[in-house]
């Protein structure tokens, strides 16, 4: 630093502003103060800037509301909590209304494949409620080979029941072997991304036809899965891509006004259908359904179609998954 103050550079205006605004580092301040102590011109400049600064502040003070009515902070936090609540409600509603796909997929080896003519009903008659439970299986578990029975009908449902889940790859039985009828209970998780757009209304893809109850009954071999005791609003049928028994969609309205839908069809198609239901993922347990007997009944007398894919039955709608699980038990 030169010793002669006149030779010093004068402090730039903006630096004096920063100095007065206390925006400089300690060492910068020391430097400036040292210069000010020796330079009259800069001291004058500094005083001028200080006055300008004060006037600005004074002017801005006038640019303020005449009075303020600060509200207590509780109002702020109340508004915050209210919004938080609304947000979570919205999310819940979405998770709910948008069809919690309680996909109670109950895969079963479609018994239409079974025993050409008589045996199935007989078997069912023999012991409809006795099939041995399969251990729970996770949806993500690798597909297990369907246990097959000899084409020779067996007197009892000796063969272990099979469970197929929506989306599981299917290993169709060979020509000589057929999946046994009685699908059996199991509990499993089926996670499904999906959810209907609005309050339980299913999102329909493909060519769904609305049909009368009777027509649907006849198209679906007199077995339209639905929750017993709940008024049916609509029945829709879509031709299965594999032919044979169609996909059925029975929509029912609960006393609360919410809709629940029961969909039944070949597992892959049901899985696709469920995935179209926009919204949240939902999981539901596969329930002990005992539908094997019904399946067998409904298909009795039909020509065997060997290697028929497994089918899935699922319920979804704007109800909590617990309720849907409960409804699953009431499916007829």
């Amino acid at each position: 630093m030169p010793l002669n103050p006149d030779a010093l550079r004068h402090i730039p205006e903006e630096e004096l502003h920063a100095y007065l605004d206390q925006a400089l580092s300690r060492s910068q301040c020391v430097e400036i103060e040292h210069h000010l102590s020796e330079c009259t011109a800069c001291r004058v400049e500094r005083d001028g800037i200080a006055a300008l600064r004060d006037r600005t502040t004074a002017l801005l003070v006038a640019a303020a509301p005449r009075r303020m009515r600060p509200r207590p902070f509780t109002e702020v936090s109340a508004t915050h909590l209210e919004r938080q609540h609304r947000r979570s409600t919205r999310i819940r509603t979405a998770a709910w209304a948008a069809s919690i796909v309680a996909a109670l997929g109950l895969g079963w080896a479609m018994s239409r494949a079974t025993a050409p003519v008589v045996p199935a009903p007989e078997r069912q008659a023999a012991g409809p409620a006795t099939p041995a439970p399969t251990p729970p299986r996770m949806a993500s578990a690798p597909p297990r080979r369907t246990t097959t029975a000899q084409s020779t009908p067996e007197p009892k449902p000796a063969s272990p029941p099979t469970l197929h889940l929506a989306g599981l790859p299917v290993t169709p039985g060979s020509d000589s072997s057929r999946p046994t009828a009685p699908a059996r209970p199991a509990t499993s998780e089926l996670a499904s991304m999906g959810g209907a757009g609005t309050a339980g209304e299913p999102v329909l893809d493909g060519m769904w036809r609305t049909v009368s109850w009777d027509n649907a009954q006849s198209e679906a071999d007199n077995w339209l899965p639905r929750v017993e005791g709940v008024p049916v609003v609509q029945v829709k049928v879509r031709r299965s891509q594999q032919g044979g028994r169609p996909l059925t969609l029975v929509t029912q309205q609960l006393a609360s006004g919410e809709m629940i839908s029961t969909v039944e069809g070949p597992s892959p198609e049901v899985a696709v259908f469920l995935s179209r239901q926009r919204g949240q993922s939902a999981s539901a347990e596969l329930q002990d359904m005992q539908v094997g007997s019904r399946q067998a009944d409904s298909t009795a007398g039909r020509p065997a179609s060997p290697g028929a894919p497994p089918r899935t039955l699922a319920i979804f709608g704007s109800a909590p998954s617990d309720s849907l699980k409960a409804f699953m038990l009431r499916v007829k």
Binding site: E13, E14, E15, H17, A18, D21, A23, I49, L52, R53, R55, T56, T57, L59, L60, A62, A63, A64, P65, R66, R67, M68, R69, P70, R71, F73, E75, V76, S77, T79, H80, R83, Q84
Partner: protein, 197 residues
């Protein structure tokens, strides 16, 4: 440690991972509210020029702060306030356009309170400051108002996109221009008075 900040009102419980009832410590946003509310209202008022609106917007700023829990709360509230004011200004322009479409009459300023002598004085002063501020460039005005709101140079720099070193320059210019504009309008007023009498 990343505990939910909501639990932070019970520091004892925070340590344990669950709330233990103890003397509740004031929420940091509440402290911020206490210390910066009027600065935020003033800041907003100088942008929207409506006291009630400024207070409503300030309230909104703090409600949002409750949700976002900003890391640098002071700078954050003014940034959000500036954004809200900008949106407000845009909406006002739209409204004005709409109004001019509806009727060609000039929009009337509503006066809610009876105007006393003091108020007239206050309003006059304010009108001058308002027009002086309006003569600044957007950047100069923003920096000046942020400074007046109590933000530091680095905070102002971050919000305005200036280098910290440029904040002093901008402030120097803004202050000078504000005073000049203000003095000009005072001078004009005096001349007008003189001409009238």
């Amino acid at each position: 440690m990343a505990f939910p900040r909501e639990l932070a009102i019970f520091p004892n419980g925070l340590q344990a991972g669950f709330p233990i009832p103890g003397p509740p410590v004031r929420d940091e946003i509440e402290t911020l509210y206490m210390t910066t509310y009027s600065a935020v209202v003033r800041f907003l008022y100088r942008k929207v020029w409506d006291a009630d609106r400024a207070e409503d917007l300030a309230q909104e700023v703090f409600v949002r702060a409750m949700r976002h829990r900003p890391e640098k709360p002071r700078a954050w509230v003014f940034a959000v306030a500036a954004n809200l004011a900008r949106d407000e200004a845009r909406a006002a322009i739209r409204r004005r356009k709409h109004l001019t479409l509806l009727s060609t009459e000039p929009t009337q300023r509503h006066q809610v309170e009876p105007v006393g002598e003091e108020n007239v004085d206050h309003d006059e002063k304010m009108e001058k400051v308002r027009s002086a501020l309006a003569q600044l460039t957007q950047r100069d005005r923003d920096v000046l108002l942020l400074w007046d709101a109590g933000l530091s140079y680095p905070e102002i720099a971050e919000q305005s996109g200036l280098a910290v070193g440029a904040v002093g320059t901008t402030l120097a210019r803004a202050r000078k221009r504000l005073i000049e504009a203000h003095d000009r309008s005072e001078l004009e007023q005096k001349r007008n008075h003189a001409a009238q009498s």
